[in-house]
């Protein structure tokens, strides 16, 4: 469900960028999204094109690029991926998605909470780094 609010953020940010750079149109925009966000790319695309209508961004092609998530423990050196992280994720904390009424982990909304919601699967430490796969960013603009 956060696809709409994130797509809205991307569209508004790009419109501000176009205004500041004096661009009348954009041919293509590449958005890199972290695996942890668990974006439904179909919904994100639909939201992006819908929200772009009637704006200078209308007509721009959206390219979505997924960035895989990796974690590395600073205590024992273990590395793990998102699949493992999802399996060991604390279910103690939840956010309620409306209107579906589905309970989701806060990790998908706020990936930087990883150290609160996860521990190293090998040594149990919270001192690990989320090396990649958490961001949402505009990685390329083709004017």
């Amino acid at each position: 469900m956060h696809e709409w609010s994130l797509a809205d953020a991307v569209v508004r940010s790009l419109l501000g960028f176009m205004a500041s750079e004096g661009l009348d149109s954009i041919k293509e925009v590449e958005v890199t999204w972290g695996e942890i966000l668990e974006l439904d790319t179909g919904i994100f695309e639909q939201a992006f094109y819908e929200l772009s209508k009637g704006t200078p961004l209308e007509g721009a092609k959206l390219v979505l690029k997924e960035e895989k998530a990796y974690f590395r423990c600073n205590s024992c050196g273990a590395e793990w991926d998102f699949k493992t992280a999802d399996e060991i994720l604390s279910r103690e904390f939840e956010i309620l998605e409306e209107p579906a009424g589905v309970r989701e982990s806060p990790l998908h909304f706020l990936p930087d909470l990883a150290r609160t919601l996860l521990r190293c699967p090998k040594c149990g430490s919270r001192d690990f780094d989320l090396i990649s796969g958490k961001d949402l960013r505009v990685s390329k603009v083709v004017a």
Binding site: S5, F93, I95, L96, P99, L110, L136
Partner: protein, 259 residues
């Protein structure tokens, strides 16, 4: 061309939807910023304003300790919905992670702050009151970026009447001034104790020191044991005593005029 910072842009845009942006900061910990943020937000709400209260303290969020709720934060098409309680809209990480630690620093903390603010779906507010944690780190840097872009913004600084506290507050004040941020004034907390008919100032008076800061004192609040009792019994802190309520009300009225 530098690619836009999507989350920061959205965070600043969402904050700027409020008509007025009021930061409560200090630089020093333990001076009562959160109690004052909550009291000002509640008083402004009681004055008929539509108020949101944003807790930017990632490591020690206090707002859920006062506005207690077991409700889950809801996510909708528009983002994360603030809790609506006591006539206020409230957002704090404490409503998401409860009492768990949030070990974060540097870029990760800034990234978390941006994402939380970028996703929070405030309604059209008269005031967004922001409770900042101690220090002049990531939270204040993000706050400064928001304050700079908001046409009706201001910061109040909270201090104890001690030279140590004031010396740290002075650093925050210098930073804000250097960045061109409007400082509305200082609130002196735990200023005095009323003992029968007498007023005792356990930390002495800093009146002369304040005058050297070049900003005004918006008001002073007593060291009032009833505040702690109010919190323990689920009452709002500014309702602890008539004296506290009147002092907060006078400060809120001054802020109204200034903003």
């Amino acid at each position: 061309m530098r690619a836009p910072d999507v989350l920061q842009d959205e965070a600043l845009r969402r904050v700027s939807r409020a008509d007025r942006l009021l930061m409560v900061a200090s630089g020093k910990g333990g001076v009562g910023k959160s109690i004052i943020s909550i009291s000002l937000a509640s008083t402004l709400s009681e004055m008929g304003r539509k108020v949101g209260l944003l807790d930017l303290d990632v490591h020690g969020p206090s707002i859920p300790q006062v506005f207690r709720s077991e409700r889950l934060i809801k996510a909708t098409k528009h983002g994360l919905e603030p809790l609506r309680m006591n006539g206020l809209e409230l957002m704090s990480l404490g409503y998401i992670v409860r009492d768990s630690p949030v070990p974060l620093g540097g870029e990760d903390k800034m990234s978390l702050l941006k994402m939380m603010v970028a996703l929070t779906n405030w309604s059209h507010l008269d005031y967004l009151v922001v409770d900042l944690p101690p220090g002049t780190g990531d939270e204040m840097i993000l706050a400064i970026r928001a304050l700079k872009r908001h046409p009706r913004s201001g910061t109040v600084l909270v201090t104890l009447p001690s030279k140590l506290s004031l010396s740290i507050v002075r650093r925050a004040l210098d930073l804000l001034r250097d960045e061109g941020i409007r400082v509305l004034g200082i609130i002196e907390n735990m200023s005095y104790i009323r003992c029968g008919g007498d007023i005792v100032r356990p930390f002495g008076s800093l009146a002369l020191d304040y005058s050297s800061l070049g900003t005004q004192v918006l008001g002073s609040l007593p060291l009032e044991p009833a505040v702690e009792e109010a919190l323990a019994s689920g009452k709002l802190p500014h309702k602890a005593s008539r004296e506290v309520m009147e002092a907060v009300s006078a400060i809120a009225s001054r802020i109204e005029v200034m903003m």
